[in-house]
Amino acid sequence: MALDISKLVTDMKDAASTVLMTDVSTFRGFSERQLEAIATQSAFVAAGIASGQITAETRDFFLDGIEDMTLSFAKTLRGLILVTIEKVWNAVVGVIWKAISTATGLALPVPSLG
Protein backbone atom coordinates (compact mmCIF):
# COMPACT_ATOMS: atom_id res chain seq x y z
CA MET A 1 0.00 0.00 0.00
CA ALA A 2 1.42 3.41 -1.02
CA LEU A 3 2.09 5.93 1.68
CA ASP A 4 -0.25 8.98 1.46
CA ILE A 5 2.28 11.82 1.80
CA SER A 6 -0.34 14.56 2.08
CA LYS A 7 -2.14 12.77 4.94
CA LEU A 8 1.18 11.98 6.62
CA VAL A 9 2.18 15.67 6.59
CA THR A 10 -1.20 16.66 8.05
CA ASP A 11 -0.97 13.99 10.76
CA MET A 12 2.58 15.08 11.65
CA LYS A 13 1.48 18.71 11.94
CA ASP A 14 -1.49 17.72 14.09
CA ALA A 15 0.69 15.62 16.39
CA ALA A 16 3.22 18.44 16.86
CA SER A 17 0.51 21.08 17.29
CA THR A 18 -1.24 19.12 20.04
CA VAL A 19 1.98 19.08 22.09
CA LEU A 20 2.93 22.67 21.28
CA MET A 21 -0.43 24.24 22.09
CA THR A 22 -0.32 22.88 25.64
CA ASP A 23 3.37 23.43 26.27
CA VAL A 24 3.66 26.96 24.87
CA SER A 25 0.80 27.91 27.18
CA THR A 26 2.85 26.54 30.09
CA PHE A 27 5.95 28.47 28.95
CA ARG A 28 3.98 31.71 28.76
CA GLY A 29 2.32 31.27 32.14
CA PHE A 30 5.59 30.33 33.85
CA SER A 31 7.47 33.23 32.24
CA GLU A 32 4.85 35.81 33.18
CA ARG A 33 4.72 34.55 36.79
CA GLN A 34 8.49 34.55 37.16
CA LEU A 35 9.14 37.92 35.55
CA GLU A 36 6.46 39.58 37.67
CA ALA A 37 7.73 37.90 40.87
CA ILE A 38 11.38 38.83 40.17
CA ALA A 39 10.39 42.44 39.45
CA THR A 40 8.33 42.59 42.66
CA GLN A 41 11.19 41.08 44.67
CA SER A 42 13.64 43.61 43.20
CA ALA A 43 11.40 46.54 44.13
CA PHE A 44 10.80 45.10 47.60
CA VAL A 45 14.51 44.61 48.30
CA ALA A 46 15.35 48.10 47.01
CA ALA A 47 12.70 49.66 49.28
CA GLY A 48 13.87 47.56 52.24
CA ILE A 49 17.49 48.64 51.78
CA ALA A 50 16.46 52.30 51.44
CA SER A 51 14.37 52.14 54.64
CA GLY A 52 17.01 50.21 56.60
CA GLN A 53 14.57 47.34 57.23
CA ILE A 54 16.84 45.09 55.16
CA THR A 55 19.99 45.16 57.26
CA ALA A 56 23.65 45.08 56.25
CA GLU A 57 23.65 41.43 57.37
CA THR A 58 21.27 40.36 54.55
CA ARG A 59 21.59 43.12 51.91
CA ASP A 60 24.24 41.49 49.71
CA PHE A 61 22.54 38.09 50.05
CA PHE A 62 19.31 39.45 48.57
CA LEU A 63 21.06 41.39 45.82
CA ASP A 64 23.03 38.30 44.79
CA GLY A 65 19.79 36.31 45.00
CA ILE A 66 18.05 38.52 42.43
CA GLU A 67 20.90 37.99 39.97
CA ASP A 68 20.96 34.22 40.50
CA MET A 69 17.19 33.69 40.39
CA THR A 70 17.03 35.51 37.05
CA LEU A 71 19.66 33.18 35.57
CA SER A 72 17.94 30.21 37.18
CA PHE A 73 14.65 31.28 35.55
CA ALA A 74 16.31 31.29 32.12
CA LYS A 75 17.84 27.86 32.70
CA THR A 76 14.52 26.44 33.92
CA LEU A 77 12.77 27.77 30.82
CA ARG A 78 15.45 26.15 28.69
CA GLY A 79 14.87 22.88 30.54
CA LEU A 80 11.13 23.06 29.83
CA ILE A 81 11.83 23.62 26.13
CA LEU A 82 14.07 20.54 25.99
CA VAL A 83 11.25 18.44 27.43
CA THR A 84 8.97 19.77 24.70
CA ILE A 85 11.51 18.82 22.02
CA GLU A 86 11.36 15.26 23.34
CA LYS A 87 7.55 15.26 23.28
CA VAL A 88 7.36 16.68 19.75
CA TRP A 89 9.93 14.14 18.58
CA ASN A 90 7.98 11.25 20.09
CA ALA A 91 4.67 12.48 18.70
CA VAL A 92 5.89 13.04 15.14
CA VAL A 93 8.05 9.91 14.94
CA GLY A 94 5.12 7.89 16.25
CA VAL A 95 2.97 9.12 13.38
CA ILE A 96 5.69 8.43 10.79
CA TRP A 97 6.41 4.91 12.04
CA LYS A 98 2.70 4.08 12.21
CA ALA A 99 2.29 5.21 8.59
CA ILE A 100 5.30 3.17 7.47
CA SER A 101 4.06 0.11 9.37
CA THR A 102 0.64 0.43 7.74
CA ALA A 103 2.13 0.89 4.26
CA THR A 104 4.56 -2.02 4.54
CA GLY A 105 2.51 -4.36 6.69
CA LEU A 106 5.48 -4.71 9.04
CA ALA A 107 5.22 -4.26 12.81
CA LEU A 108 8.09 -1.77 13.17
CA PRO A 109 9.13 -0.75 16.71
CA VAL A 110 8.77 2.99 17.20
CA PRO A 111 12.15 4.54 18.14
CA SER A 112 12.06 6.13 21.54
CA LEU A 113 13.88 9.05 23.14
CA GLY A 114 13.56 7.43 26.53
Partner: protein, 172 residues
Protein backbone atom coordinates in the same frame (compact mmCIF):
# COMPACT_ATOMS: atom_id res chain seq x y z
CA UNK B 1 11.60 43.31 21.44
CA UNK B 2 9.98 42.21 24.74
CA UNK B 3 11.22 39.35 26.91
CA UNK B 4 8.21 37.18 26.04
CA UNK B 5 8.69 37.90 22.33
CA UNK B 6 12.30 36.76 22.63
CA UNK B 7 11.18 33.65 24.49
CA UNK B 8 8.61 32.92 21.77
CA UNK B 9 11.28 33.38 19.10
CA UNK B 10 13.64 31.03 20.90
CA UNK B 11 10.82 28.51 21.35
CA UNK B 12 10.23 28.57 17.60
CA UNK B 13 13.94 28.01 16.95
CA UNK B 14 14.08 25.08 19.33
CA UNK B 15 10.86 23.52 18.03
CA UNK B 16 12.35 23.78 14.55
CA UNK B 17 15.36 21.93 15.92
CA UNK B 18 13.02 19.23 17.22
CA UNK B 19 11.42 18.79 13.81
CA UNK B 20 14.90 18.67 12.27
CA UNK B 21 15.82 15.93 14.72
CA UNK B 22 12.72 13.96 13.76
CA UNK B 23 13.90 13.88 10.19
CA UNK B 24 17.45 12.95 11.21
CA UNK B 25 16.15 9.92 13.12
CA UNK B 26 18.27 10.44 16.25
CA UNK B 27 17.23 8.63 19.41
CA UNK B 28 18.26 9.88 22.81
CA UNK B 29 17.05 11.41 26.08
CA UNK B 30 17.02 15.19 26.54
CA UNK B 31 15.69 15.54 30.11
CA UNK B 32 15.65 13.48 33.32
CA UNK B 33 12.82 11.03 34.06
CA UNK B 34 9.87 12.14 36.19
CA UNK B 35 10.39 11.25 39.86
CA UNK B 36 7.25 11.27 42.02
CA UNK B 37 9.33 11.10 45.21
CA UNK B 38 11.06 14.37 44.29
CA UNK B 39 7.75 16.02 43.39
CA UNK B 40 6.06 14.88 46.61
CA UNK B 41 9.08 15.92 48.68
CA UNK B 42 9.14 19.31 46.97
CA UNK B 43 5.46 19.95 47.63
CA UNK B 44 5.85 18.96 51.29
CA UNK B 45 8.95 21.16 51.71
CA UNK B 46 7.07 24.05 50.08
CA UNK B 47 4.27 23.75 52.64
CA UNK B 48 6.70 23.51 55.57
CA UNK B 49 8.76 26.47 54.36
CA UNK B 50 5.73 28.72 53.81
CA UNK B 51 4.45 27.71 57.25
CA UNK B 52 7.74 28.78 58.81
CA UNK B 53 7.54 32.15 57.03
CA UNK B 54 3.97 32.58 58.28
CA UNK B 55 4.99 31.82 61.88
CA UNK B 56 7.73 34.50 61.84
CA UNK B 57 5.99 36.98 59.54
CA UNK B 58 6.14 39.73 62.15
CA UNK B 59 9.91 39.37 62.55
CA UNK B 60 11.95 37.63 65.27
CA UNK B 61 14.10 38.49 68.28
CA UNK B 62 17.41 36.81 69.07
CA UNK B 63 16.11 35.54 72.41
CA UNK B 64 13.41 33.44 70.70
CA UNK B 65 15.76 31.64 68.31
CA UNK B 66 15.95 28.47 70.39
CA UNK B 67 12.26 27.79 69.78
CA UNK B 68 12.87 27.70 66.02
CA UNK B 69 16.28 26.01 65.86
CA UNK B 70 14.94 22.49 65.34
CA UNK B 71 12.51 23.63 62.65
CA UNK B 72 15.32 25.33 60.72
CA UNK B 73 17.55 22.23 61.01
CA UNK B 74 14.79 19.88 59.84
CA UNK B 75 13.88 22.08 56.90
CA UNK B 76 17.44 22.66 55.69
CA UNK B 77 18.12 18.93 55.99
CA UNK B 78 15.06 18.02 53.92
CA UNK B 79 15.89 20.60 51.24
CA UNK B 80 19.52 19.46 50.96
CA UNK B 81 18.35 15.86 50.66
CA UNK B 82 15.87 16.84 47.94
CA UNK B 83 18.54 18.76 46.01
CA UNK B 84 20.71 15.64 45.97
CA UNK B 85 17.81 13.44 44.78
CA UNK B 86 16.85 15.93 42.05
CA UNK B 87 20.45 16.23 40.88
CA UNK B 88 21.07 12.49 40.83
CA UNK B 89 19.52 12.16 37.38
CA UNK B 90 22.24 13.53 35.07
CA UNK B 91 21.67 13.79 31.35
CA UNK B 92 24.86 13.07 29.40
CA UNK B 93 25.83 15.22 26.45
CA UNK B 94 24.93 13.36 23.28
CA UNK B 95 24.59 13.69 19.54
CA UNK B 96 21.19 15.33 19.82
CA UNK B 97 22.57 18.01 22.14
CA UNK B 98 25.33 18.68 19.65
CA UNK B 99 22.84 18.76 16.77
CA UNK B 100 20.59 21.26 18.54
CA UNK B 101 23.53 23.52 19.36
CA UNK B 102 24.82 23.33 15.79
CA UNK B 103 21.32 24.15 14.48
CA UNK B 104 21.01 27.17 16.80
CA UNK B 105 24.55 28.34 16.14
CA UNK B 106 23.91 28.34 12.39
CA UNK B 107 20.98 30.70 13.04
CA UNK B 108 22.90 33.05 15.33
CA UNK B 109 21.31 31.80 18.57
CA UNK B 110 23.32 30.80 21.66
CA UNK B 111 23.69 27.09 22.57
CA UNK B 112 21.10 25.78 25.01
CA UNK B 113 22.42 22.54 26.38
CA UNK B 114 26.02 23.20 27.35
CA UNK B 115 25.38 22.44 31.03
CA UNK B 116 22.27 20.29 30.90
CA UNK B 117 23.95 17.56 32.92
CA UNK B 118 22.28 18.93 36.07
CA UNK B 119 18.51 19.50 36.13
CA UNK B 120 17.63 23.19 36.79
CA UNK B 121 15.38 22.12 39.67
CA UNK B 122 18.40 20.82 41.61
CA UNK B 123 19.96 24.29 41.54
CA UNK B 124 16.67 25.95 42.55
CA UNK B 125 16.21 23.59 45.52
CA UNK B 126 19.81 24.21 46.63
CA UNK B 127 19.13 27.96 46.58
CA UNK B 128 15.95 27.49 48.67
CA UNK B 129 18.05 25.65 51.24
CA UNK B 130 20.60 28.48 51.24
CA UNK B 131 17.78 31.01 51.70
CA UNK B 132 16.38 29.22 54.76
CA UNK B 133 19.92 28.74 56.13
CA UNK B 134 20.65 32.48 55.72
CA UNK B 135 17.44 33.35 57.56
CA UNK B 136 18.41 30.89 60.31
CA UNK B 137 21.88 32.41 60.67
CA UNK B 138 20.51 35.97 60.74
CA UNK B 139 17.79 34.95 63.20
CA UNK B 140 20.41 33.44 65.48
CA UNK B 141 22.80 36.42 65.21
CA UNK B 142 20.49 39.44 65.45
CA UNK B 143 16.89 38.43 64.73
CA UNK B 144 15.15 39.16 61.41
CA UNK B 145 12.90 42.13 60.62
CA UNK B 146 9.41 41.62 59.16
CA UNK B 147 10.63 43.06 55.86
CA UNK B 148 13.54 40.61 55.78
CA UNK B 149 11.13 37.72 56.39
CA UNK B 150 9.07 38.89 53.40
CA UNK B 151 12.21 39.15 51.26
CA UNK B 152 13.32 35.64 52.27
CA UNK B 153 9.83 34.38 51.45
CA UNK B 154 9.82 36.14 48.07
CA UNK B 155 13.16 34.61 47.13
CA UNK B 156 12.20 31.09 48.27
CA UNK B 157 8.84 31.33 46.45
CA UNK B 158 10.49 32.18 43.12
CA UNK B 159 12.86 29.23 43.39
CA UNK B 160 10.03 26.91 44.48
CA UNK B 161 8.02 27.95 41.40
CA UNK B 162 11.00 27.11 39.18
CA UNK B 163 11.63 23.72 40.80
CA UNK B 164 7.97 22.62 41.01
CA UNK B 165 7.12 23.75 37.46
CA UNK B 166 10.12 21.89 36.03
CA UNK B 167 9.61 18.69 38.03
CA UNK B 168 5.89 18.52 37.14
CA UNK B 169 6.72 19.16 33.49
CA UNK B 170 8.89 16.03 33.44
CA UNK B 171 5.72 13.91 33.66
CA UNK B 172 5.44 13.27 29.94
Amino acid sequence: MGALDRISRNCCLVISAALFLCLSGCATQLAPPYDKLVVDGLNAANTETMTLFAVVSGGTRVGDYGARADKYATLVGKLDSLAISAGARPIPTNKVSETINQFLQNRGAPPIVEDAATPPSAHAIKKISETVAKMRDTDKKQGVTAIEVQAFKGQASIYFDQAITYENFLKR
